[in-house]
């Protein structure tokens, strides 16, 4: 978004996120009845219809953008005032610019295909309507995330996808492992979100201190200098804020150290894996960095951190993927690795390259996941690649689309992955923020990727079928509703690459880099990062050389996979048992990261909890019990006083009265005569007294 552009009001773009929301609401409230009365078809039509309509609107939005001058390409739908407090004005406002346009096409397009696929995949599930309610809600949240016009609304979508991923990963909630995986995804994401929230606070705090209380991207971007000048604890706010925001990105986009949730998230149904790990949620972190690229560009330190984290994640995840035997786990670690590429691209300031790889990856990874789902579907739920093999002829559509997507991700020339990956590698090498080591890691990962993906292809589709008789008997290709999306995605895995033909190849032929031109108003027009643009003539040979190198490395990976798992002339044991088997066990057990986290964080938390419980029971309860004992002691003393002093006084009065009475009653003899004597004596005594007194007087 350039500072001087004039946004075009287009309220209808708000329908893009709101239609899936309406679908989600309808399915959540009336889905069960709909499914009961009209069958699962009606539910599927409703869910796919809303996303399909959103896709149509997204295409219309892109067409509208194309009709505008490049610098004016912004459609805004300001729906209503959301939070107006003091000077702060946050609106529920959606904006479509070229970057958002790419994202909504990915989310609604690929998301829509996954919806269609899921109507086939989930057909036998009783929770059919619930599944699609979640899917629609997820689509809404992701669209809100990418269309939000301010950070707060973006955060709403950010949290929304986190919530929906929890619901979808744990969708088959009757097994504890699935819900645990859902919880893990949610909790790990929350850790990242914590940093993200702090980043938002810091940004708002800084802008507010400068007298501009705002969170809207369009208002923040032209005033980015405020962030550059402001300092907190001697560190530029821009650096601090971007680091905090990047913590959020490591959670959502599954980077070190918060990538651990993603492989476990394979517990969800396969369409969920495709939706979360290919098209939507995991790209949120990359998109967020792209959206705030002007901010990250101010913080070279953060960019270095991002680049290193991205490269490290790509490498670590790729090595783990080498030894996995679960068909979806390989793809999961592959996703983490590919996200590492995107983050690496963002870290070297190659925003366009990162988004371009996001786009191509969305196609081939969605295709891979859905094809893997088709395989699992055909194998009756089997996910272990060691019990597959020889499926090439039995699943013609699945196997061919899987192979195309594998070629794309492995970087085979002239497929989508080749263009986007090589652009990232080139930028990692040549950008001002790049480094030859980053390039080296990226190229190594390209080789590893080619190896583990083709290992998967050979294990699943070629060689002997290692399934048991029963499973082999029931092998069947999936219905058209599942294979059609596969073919569309496979076609995308090839064709999307031509949106970003590198200058070194396309330039001489006059083929434009469509992606770069399209995103230029967002990334290129304002505050460009040096080196992130077009390579210059003198570097042409170098770029072509690097490209050949990475293709050669990838070809080497494919060749190795062929030797080990294709014609099996090279026993895998030669590698797994090298150096005493230690490196193999290391990657097979995923570097024991989960165990380490469990030991340090989970058990640490539990230990802290136990200590707190001990303090609670032994100290706080003891204080309470002690005070109770003191009160009881005081009460006992009070009782003694009551018994002995108060009651004693009362009893003493009674006793004295009684004793006196006992003695005094002797007077009452009951004998009248004695009374008369007393009377007589009294009278005589009285007379005597009177007489002595009178005589004395």
């Amino acid at each position: 978004m350039t500072p001087h552009l004039a946004p075009t009001a287009a309220p209808w773009v708000a329908l893009i996120p709101l239609l899936p929301l309406a679908g989600a609401a309808g399915l959540a409230l009336g889905g069960a009845r709909l499914q009961q009365r009209f069958g699962k078809g009606a539910v599927g039509w409703l869910a796919c219809g809303t996303v399909g309509a959103s896709f149509a609107l997204s295409v219309a939005a892109v067409a509208t953008l194309l009709g505008l001058a490049p610098d004016d390409r912004l459609l805004v739908a300001d729906l209503w005032a959301w939070i107006h407090v003091g000077g702060l004005q946050v609106d529920v406002a959606y904006g479509v610019d070229p970057l958002s346009a790419v994202m909504i096409l990915v989310v609604t397009g690929i998301g829509g295909l996954i919806h269609v696929y899921a109507t086939g995949y989930m057909h036998d599930d009783d929770g059919f309507w619930r599944f699609f309610a979640y899917l629609n809600l997820f689509t809404f949240a992701m669209l809100t995330l990418v269309l939000a016009d301010n950070l707060l609304l973006l955060f709403l979508g950010w949290e929304g996808v986190g919530f929906c991923s929890w619901g979808l990963i744990g969708f088959w909630h009757k097994e504890l492992a699935n819900t645990t995986a859902g919880n893990k995804a949610f909790i790990v994401n929350r850790i990242g979100d914590f940093g993200f929230v702090l980043g938002i606070f810091l940004l708002f705090w800084t802008f507010d201190a400068a007298g501009i209380p705002t969170l809207a991207f369009r208002e923040m971007e032209p005033r980015a200098d405020i962030l550059n000048q402001a300092r907190l604890w001697g560190v530029p706010v821009a650096t601090l804020a971007t680091l905090l925001l990047f913590v959020g990105a490591t959670g959502k986009s599954a980077q070190i150290p918060l990538y651990v949730w993603l492989p476990d998230a394979m517990a969800g149904p396969t369409p969920v894996s495709a939706l979360i790990h290919a098209a939507t949620m995991v790209t949120a972190g990359v998109y967020m960095i792209g959206r705030l690229h002007w901010l990250f560009a101010l913080a070279p330190v953060t960019l270095h951190v991002i680049a290193v984290v991205g490269a490290a994640t790509a490498l670590v995840a790729a090595t783990i993927a080498l030894a996995q035997n679960d068909i979806k786990k390989v793809l999961a670690y592959s996703t983490v690795s590919q996200l590492g590429y995107m983050v690496l691209a963002m870290g070297v300031g190659a925003w366009g390259a990162g988004i371009f790889h996001l786009l191509t990856h969305a196609f081939f990874k969605a295709c891979l996941f859905l094809a893997a789902g088709s395989v699992i579907h055909a194998m009756g739920g089997e996910q272990d690649m060691r019990r597959m093999g020889g499926l090439w002829g039995k699943l013609p559509h699945t196997s061919r689309t899987f192979l195309i997507a594998t070629l794309a991700i492995a970087g085979a020339p002239f497929l989508a992955g080749f263009f986007s990956k090589d652009e990232i590698l080139w930028q990692a090498f040549s950008s001002r923020h790049g480094h030859v080591l980053l390039w080296l890691i990226g190229t190594t990962v390209a080789g590893l990727t080619a190896f583990y993906m083709f290992r998967q292809v050979f294990l699943v589709f070629f060689g002997e079928c290692r399934a048991d008789e029963h499973t082999r008997h029931h092998l069947h290709e999936s219905p058209a509703v599942m294979t059609a999306p596969l073919w569309i995605l496979a076609a995308g895995s090839v064709l999307t690459g031509y949106l970003g033909v590198p200058h070194a190849l396309g330039g001489p032929l006059g083929v434009a880099h469509v992606m770069n031109d399209w995103l230029a108003p967002v990334f290129g027009g304002y505050r460009p990062v040096a080196g992130a643009g077009q390579p210059h003539g003198g570097e042409l040979a170098l770029e072509l050389g690097l490209m050949l190198a990475s293709v050669a490395v990838a070809a080497g990976g494919v060749l190795l996979a062929w030797l080990m798992y294709g014609n099996r002339t090279l026993a895998p044991e030669r590698f797994s048992e090298a150096l005493g088997g230690a490196p193999y066990r290391l990657v097979l057990n995923k570097y024991w990261v989960d165990e380490a986290y469990d030991l340090v964080f989970v058990r640490g938390t539990l230990a802290v909890c136990r200590a707190a419980a001990w303090v609670d029971t032994r100290v706080i309860d003891a204080v309470v019990d002690g005070s109770a004992t003191v009160v009881r002691g005081a009460a006992a003393i009070g009782r003694l006083i009551d018994d002995w002093v108060v009651d004693g006084a009362v009893n003493a009065v009674a006793d004295v009265t009684w004793a006196v009475g006992r003695r005094a009653r002797r007077i009452q003899t009951g004998a009248i005569t004695s009374y008369l004597y007393v009377v007589l004596l009294g009278v005589l005594g009285g007379v005597f007294l009177w007489w002595s007194w009178a005589s004395a007087g």
């Binding site: 009653r665 009452q668 003899t669 009951g670 004998a671 009248i672 005569t673 008369l676 004597y677 007589l680």
Partner: protein, 103 residues
Amino acid sequence: MGEIGITHWVVLSAILFSLGLFCVLTRRNALGILMGIELILNSANVNYVAFARYADTGYDGQIFAIFVIMLAAAEAAIGLAIVLGVYQAFETIDVDATDRLRG
């Protein structure tokens, strides 16, 4: 000594009183006690009449004496009723035997 004067009457009255008192104190029979009381009352009457005769105070003394006689009659009625009640309760009128109010 010669003429009978006030002194004789007072002495007579004192003797009557003493006899009555002695009777009251010594009798164990309830009726005897009642009789002693009559003597004491009559000694008082003697005094009234005698003092009225020798002191010039009109007929006050005689009137008081008549009151006392009347009162004695009432007292005797009540006393005899009590004695009857005592007899019904104790089947005796020996005052030494009726000591149920002993403390």
